[in-house]
Symmetry: C2
Subunit: 358 residues, 2 copies
């Protein structure tokens, strides 16, 4: 961790991420200036307290954070390297393509001060009004050092992540892009294809929608104007995965036509294996969790009463899902708890009058 | 609704669904007998209270519910039609193929007494120990009447659904299969393909996994031995959708290679439209909901305290998600609330000392 002070920091772009970074840094007392081509965004972000300096006051930033849409990233990074003596980072969703574009326009000394990064946080909303100092709390924040980066600059960007409440994760730009293609961009695209099949389904067919299809398609509600840029910028890594998916779809179609169940099972088994390798809570290894379902009347306070009871019973709720059910005012709440706590939880909930089952 | 009494009911198959149906019917006082090729399943289910008669005592069931794996469905339905004078239903995930198989083996009078059905409920666990009288509470239960079905038999199966706490949804077998291919089987297969891409990813890449990929892949953890049967039995409807997906994947690959962003946007827009048509809670139209994120210390009681505060504030929580975060013991809880309640909730939570943002 750098012993140097982090600020003064210039944040370029007063949207959701830029404003949230300003708010998070101001929370720890770092001096921040904001700039944006939109006067309105700038006024809102400043009003929220995301900056204590104007960009005109800050002519020699120690750190510039470029938080603009993917299409404008490289241009703004190069401008920042030219105008400021300090470290420059960006918070875009893709890292290799902007690095190559910056590389083509700057000399080695300038390039050594640029280290791209990517906080794994966001919102379906955008703009400074959606910003929050807490947006990055507890999130991973990828720091994508390239071979020509100054190690001190890398430490400065890691310190930025920590100052914003996030956990730095060190990856090369290529590793980062391959990683997010797998863990974010491909899931997004396939969720959109599944959701696309629902768009022209008869309404009565959709009454059979359960929690599964809701979960699979949730991310597909994200902003297409942003996602088209992300997808285009990570085209290489994403295309490789899409070709694998197409081969799998071909395998499935051939297997269904031939009644070859073993081929279907092989793909399903691989899916099970994939769900098992996603890291557990707090980055630790996954541990066995079991679902407990509880019927809860659907009005304010009932869910709180349930969780207060679970708290008194002494069982920690690892995750919780509220099922949407048709035609009746009772919600079904799924509690995920450690497998060895299930029996105790079930019997204790029953004692307190709850209808619960595994 | 039938004015006739529902029982005595014979449930064939003492697994998760059969045992849960027995428990749900016994809860309302209906006489139930159970049968299973496994003596152990039968003993467990009976011990749980899922039956009050033996199968030997029940020679003339008013209703037979066949709850066996997909591969054995048609055989057991035909046997039930031959051995009992009453209505016969099944609870399998696919309806057209078993109907055709039954049709080929019985006469018109026997066929008129068969009405397939499908409760939209289950668990990642299986077997009688996972059963619960509450499994179907508030769930849709598809009743798939064919043209030769006796209307009284259809009413009997709808009455079964209601007796088990579910809401009957009337669809033809073909409509049912097309509906679940879209809302359940295709999402499952594509979730498995996304998860399959994670199976051989380097572990450090997976540290960037966020809530999105967890949601998209959750269902892929389901039992391949069951899903291979479901997929095979609904091969026709599923293959049609898989061909549409393959065409979309080809469109994406061509668009990424050509830098054609408009083609990507068209598919993303369709995905957004698809997420908007999934019915809202309680089967009603979707209403605008907004996410509020709250930082919550990760130990028993804190979540309860948050929800107790939300209850006192008077805001109903429509849905709730606990984010898994690496490296720190603070959870991020996402509350979904009606859009017009957000400002009031945020300011009231802040008053009570919570760190919350949109």
């Amino acid at each position: 961790m750098s012993a140097e002070p982090l600020g003064p920091v210039l944040v370029v772009g007063a949207g959701l991420l830029g404003t949230s970074i300003g708010l998070a840094l101001r929370r720890t007392g770092v001096d921040v200036a904001l700039s944006d081509i939109s006067e309105e965004n700038l006024r809102i972000a400043s009003g929220l307290g995301a900056a204590n300096l104007t960009a005109a006051q800050l002519t020699a930033a120690r750190l510039v954070v470029v938080a603009v849409p993917p299409d404008h990233l490289a241009t703004e990074v190069v401008r920042a390297l030219r105008e400021h003596p300090g470290v420059v980072t960006d918070v875009g969703s893709v890292k290799a393509e902007p690095l190559a574009a910056v590389h083509a326009q700057v000399d080695t000394a300038e390039l050594s001060r640029y280290v791209g990064s990517h906080p794994m946080a966001g919102s379906e909303r955008s703009g400074p009004f959606a910003a929050s100092a807490a947006l990055f709390d507890g999130r991973p924040w990828a720091v994508a050092a390239h071979p020509d980066a100054d190690p001190a600059a890398v430490q400065t960007v890691a310190a930025l992540a920590r100052a914003c409440g996030a956990t730095p994760v060190m990856l090369t730009p290529q590793e980062h892009d391959a990683a997010v293609a797998r863990t974010s961009h491909l899931p997004h695209l396939l969720a959109a294809l599944v959701a696309g099949r629902l768009a022209d389904a008869p309404a009565e067919h959709l009454t059979l929608s359960g929690q599964g299809v809701r979960d699979v398609t949730r991310v597909a509600a994200g902003d297409p104007a942003l996602w088209r840029q992300i997808v285009a910028a990570n085209a290489t890594a994403l295309s490789e995965l899409l070709r694998e998916v197409r081969a799998d779809v071909d395998t499935l179609l051939a297997a269904l036509a031939a009644g070859d169940r073993d081929a279907v099972t092989t793909l399903l088994d691989r899916g099970v294996a994939g769900t098992a390798v996603i890291p557990g809570k707090h980055g630790g290894p996954t541990r066995p969790e079991t679902s407990v379902y509880v019927a809860v009347p659907d009005h304010p306070g009932e869910l709180a009463r349930l969780l207060a009871d679970a708290g008194e019973i002494g069982v920690n709720i690892e995750d919780l899902r509220i099922d949407h059910d048709p035609g009746r005012p009772v919600g079904l709440v799924e509690l995920l708890v450690a497998a060895d706590a299930v029996d105790h939880l079930l019997s204790s909930l029953a004692d307190r009058g709850w209808t619960a089952h595994r």
